[in-house]
Symmetry: C2
Subunit: 129 residues, 2 copies
DNA sequence: TCGACGTATGAAGAGTTCTGCAGATGTGCA
DNA sequence: TGCACATCTGCAGAACTCTTCATACGTCGA
């Protein structure tokens, strides 16, 4: 199912074919791009991002997560399900409680970086608030 | 406009109020979370991500970007407009050509990291293809 | 000045995503 | 066993996103 790029055969004119070819050589596979975009997409929702920031410090149960993010518990559960499906978070069940934790090192790094960048940007542009 | 978290006054029961409060203290402002999620959201579309990966090495014109990503030129232009609006890319105009470049250090780092992680993951899970 | 070209834009339709509601599941306690 | 509780899930409506089509804009060469 790979899109064969069709560079040579289509009517698209290229301005700098060498650069295009070089870029294509460096470009990850379609599947990898889609997978990566998926991860970024998970972080692209403010609620989910807040959820993940909350989990940076350790596990929390659903109702605490709902309280932190200001979401309903249903919405929280839905969001956590998505994150779970992508193996970004994992669950530990204790009785009727469910404790979630951040379980993806790459995502943790991305969230950490984002928070750090946020603080840094705040320091640079304090007038922005 | 800060959401005052309303932790104490609402009916939501908390399992670990101390942790919740600590997490809230560390949580960036609502606006920062939304801004950060916006950036991740921009990277959350495979086409846009491809566009940005293509721009890692330097500027390219719209038609070359369209060729690299396999998008129509119209779709490419729309996507670039969005990225431009968020100051992720910038344009240099030369006659009727428009050369775009990646103009946000943070986004560049995120895309770089993602590509690196992709390659690393491929090396670990070669069976995944 | 005219036409071709590269790019930009607006509108519309298809597709996707998110939330709340209602109800289900499974656990703990009396 | 029966009830309360914490969480999960399917569904449906609302909201958003992305692409295409058609067209507009500015530039270049004849």
């Amino acid at each position: 199912m790979q899109t064969p790029a069709a560079i040579d055969s289509c009517t698209v004119r290229l301005v700098d074919p060498e650069r295009v070819e070089a870029v294509n050589a460096r470009m990850p596979s379609e599947q990898d791009v889609v997978d990566t975009a998926d991860v970024f997409g998970l972080l692209g929702d403010p609620r989910r991002l807040k959820l993940l920031v909350a989990l940076l410090d350790g596990e929390l149960c659903v109702c605490d997560l709902a309280a932190v993010t200001g979401m309903s518990e249903s919405a929280t559960s839905h969001a956590l399900r998505l994150l779970r499906a992508h193996r970004v978070v994992s669950v530990r069940r204790d009785g009727r409680m469910a404790y979630y934790r951040l379980d993806d090192a790459h995502v943790r790094m991305l969230v950490d970086l984002a928070v750090a960048h946020t603080e840094h940007t705040d320091a640079i542009h304090p007038e922005r608030g």
